[in-house]
Symmetry: C2
Subunit: 227 residues, 2 copies
DNA sequence: GTTTTCATGTAACCCGTTACATGATTCA
DNA sequence: TGAATCATGTAACGGGTTACATGAAAAC
């Protein structure tokens, strides 16, 4: 039981589904791998892991022995407590994955859902994307309305702030439109077998129904935590 | 004393500087007038007002008597407790206005500052804009770096999320560039007299150094709270 | 006269951070 | 050997929401 935070729980289960990890590494992956994600502090993460264990969704395993130089170099450092997803945990995550609803369209929640679209059924992806879009569209309505009512009372800076805010939302709507269209066009379902964790064998780009975008990123390995 | 929340305190003082108001209306203005702002709940707002009063920055006044039909129709409904900025409150707000620092570049904080740029000295505006920009630029660095390190391990959706996130940040940087340039170009200081509250007499657009943007908004008055 | 909107408040809770305490491992 | 990084945790606090309680004025 114990209704834990949704978003963090979801992300943790999702990451552990791909491979077992210890807390420290988990936290890093929450910043980096999952794009937009802000870094949760250990003060949040570890207690969360504890309750997930208590729920039977994870089990703690002793980390790889530090003497094992091979394992250490391969896995990148040694570990103390490795968390592994249980069968119930997997099941629970599947449930979360298939769930759609108003909360799902919210900013952070949406980002989390999107980050695991690779494991999500096509149908569900569509519902989430469309839900998010209509969420933003109603937001735009409100903004436009209130702007129309108050525009002459506001000074230029406030107006400019509002303008930029609306433009940002409009931009995301366009993005969603692209995504939805690609989803419709793409005939690949992915993840027809629910027991199969993500395979990262996409050696060449463009697996399925995602829009094409220019791509430039020079190599520049540096520190962690986007903050 | 009592270090209250910064952002809400700041916004409340700023709004009350323009004109006295009661809590209920204040809350509405926090959504609408201040563009991007999320709506604080009453459970946050009223206690905050209390502490501001305790600090001597506000005083409570009895609202306009409901019998006065004229005042009621003009001011839009009656009021119970009207909050007015004291001299110390005004002074305190000036201090907050002139303050720049790392916290100032943070997302929400920045929006709040920007919303009151109309009352902010040119110099300070510049520092805030430039601080925000470099904040975003370092964020971009981190994102690029981590992306370069992990790109082949990530699936298409995660990659797309990251791409979109970065593009959003890049977009804001361009926006800031425009603003900074306009600030440099504009020779108008505004608010050279610190005792003078905002005048909303800008009947014709384009007061000073703000960039021009297309402007279309049909009339469509409806409900409040953007949420 | 009843419903809606205006208006003010409080107590319980939730989600998360900060600061702190602790210790093992790697690297210079 | 000492510093940096890896790694795990906890207690105190912070800033906010929800749900609730209350009531007055406006609109129908």
């Amino acid at each position: 039981m114990s209704r834990r935070s949704g978003i963090l729980e979801f992300a943790v289960l999702g990451l552990l589904r791909e491979s077992p990890m210890h807390g420290y590494e988990l936290r890093k992956r929450l910043n980096t791998s999952l794009g937009i994600f802000r870094a949760f502090s250990y003060g949040t993460l570890y207690p969360c892991l504890k309750t997930l264990v208590a729920n039977g969704w994870l089990i703690e395993e002793p980390g790889s022995a530090p003497e094992d130089a091979l394992a250490a170099s391969l896995a990148g450092r040694r570990a103390k407590i490795v968390y592994r997803l249980t069968a119930e945990g997997k099941e629970h995550f599947e449930e979360l994955l298939s769930h759609t609803g108003p909360d799902t369209w919210e900013d952070e929640h949406f980002a989390a859902r999107f980050a695991f679209f690779g494991q999500t059924e096509r149908e569900v992806r569509m519902r989430v994307l469309e839900g998010r879009r209509s969420r933003l569209e109603e937001r735009l309505e409100k903004m436009r309305a209130s702007l129309a009512r108050t525009r002459e009372r506001l000074d230029d800076y406030t107006l400019e702030l509002q303008r930029h805010g609306m433009e940002s939302v409009e931009r995301e709507v366009r993005w969603l439109n692209e995504l939805i269209e690609s989803e419709r066009a793409g005939r690949d379902q992915r993840r027809s077998d629910p027991g199969d964790p993500a395979r990262h064998d996409t050696t060449s780009g463009e697996t399925d129904g995602l829009p094409r975008h220019r791509d430039d990123t020079g190599p520049d390995p540096s520190d962690d935590t986007v903050k």
